[in-house]
Amino acid sequence: MSLAARQLEAHGIATVVLGCAKDIVELVGVPRFLFSDFPLGNAAGRPHDIASQDATLELALRVLEAAPGPRTTVQSPQRWSDDPSWKLDYSNIARLSPEEIARRRAEFDAQRQIAQGVKGQK
């Protein structure tokens, strides 16, 4: 998604990326980025919360209008939860048991084979 933003921007179309993975988007390098400090999958706002979704869009539009230059990141003031412990869980090996790691390895192998099969059928 960040690569597409760069492509459009390089050809005269202004862009703003809405995302939840701050380090990944900033590593790629995009013109404008609205970062929501939410679990991945909620870049457009909190589920079942129109006020949160409208506020997220409004902030993205303001970033589009007012960014002073490339690599402008604005962080949404919205909080996912008063308890930040959700941030410790995503792909965190330190929090998984050896049994869970083995189970995920098997699952990942299976999904990778499915993806290769789907791509091969194109």
């Binding site: 998604m1 960040s2 690569l3 597409a4 933003a5 760069r6 492509q7 459009l8 050809h11 005269g12 179309i13 202004a14 862009t15 703003v16 809405l18 995302g19 701050k22 380090d23 990944i24 988007v25 590593l27 790629v28 390098g29 995009v30 013109p31 970062f35 991945l40 999958g41 909620n42 870049a43 457009a44 706002g45 909190r46 589920p47 079942h48 979704q53 869009l57 993205a60 589009l64 209008e65 490339p70 690599r71 996912w80 930040p84 959700w86 941030k87 869980d89 995503y90 792909s91 965190n92 090996i93 790691i101 390895r105 990942f108 999904q111 990778r112 499915i114 993806a115 099969g117 194109k122």
Partner: protein, 181 residues
């Protein structure tokens, strides 16, 4: 520094910062035994196009990584496990004047802490329609576009990004929101 000292100073807990996805993913897949770590795209120079007119006079487009629901491709609903068969590999487009059933089961979103019940949290087409209705933006583009999450940077750059640009030009958009999942 102890938690008590942190609290006395009004500091947030140490882990209350943006999730370090790059480090997490690197360690995660390394531990699962997947060879060389993924090489993320990384640039020094970043292009920039300022808005030339007020947003209320501009046509705005939308790009998503979400996938159209496909009934024959297994579980894609809220809380579905990662479903690679629901992936798509070429750019697709849909009319913005009608509603769409887009899912993210093919994406590694945070399944521990969100369930993907409400597509408005990753596909803000209704919110954009509201913004257009109140004249916050000039017009909504006639189409939105779906961007594949191809693992190959070469394919993304040479095929998908080129196609997305061509479609956005056909739509004559001035600005685009790209929503990552």
């Amino acid at each position: 520094m102890t938690d008590t000292e942190d609290q006395a100073l009004g500091f947030a807990p140490a882990h209350d910062q943006p999730v370090p996805y790059l480090a997490r993913i690197r360690e995660y897949y390394g531990t699962l035994g997947y060879g060389a770590p993924y090489r993320w795209a990384q640039y020094v120079d970043v292009p920039y196009t300022p808005l030339r007119k007020p947003l209320a006079k501009l046509r705005v487009g939308l790009i998503t990584t979400a996938a159209p629901y496909q009934a024959d491709k297994g579980e894609q609903g809220p809380g579905a496990p990662y479903n690679a068969s629901a992936k798509f590999f070429t750019v697709y487009s849909g009319e913005t004047s009608v509603d769409h059933d887009l899912r993210i089961s093919h994406i590694s979103y945070d399944r521990d802490h969100t369930t993907a019940e409400d597509s408005n949290s990753w596909f803000p087409l209704p919110a954009l329609r509201r913004a257009a209705a109140r004249r916050r933006i000039g017009r909504l583009a006639p189409r939105f576009h779906g961007a594949p999450t191809n693992r190959s940077h070469r394919t993304t750059l040479d095929v998908d990004c080129v196609e997305l640009l061509a479609r956005c030009r056909e739509d004559e958009v001035d600005a685009v929101l790209l929503v990552a999942t």
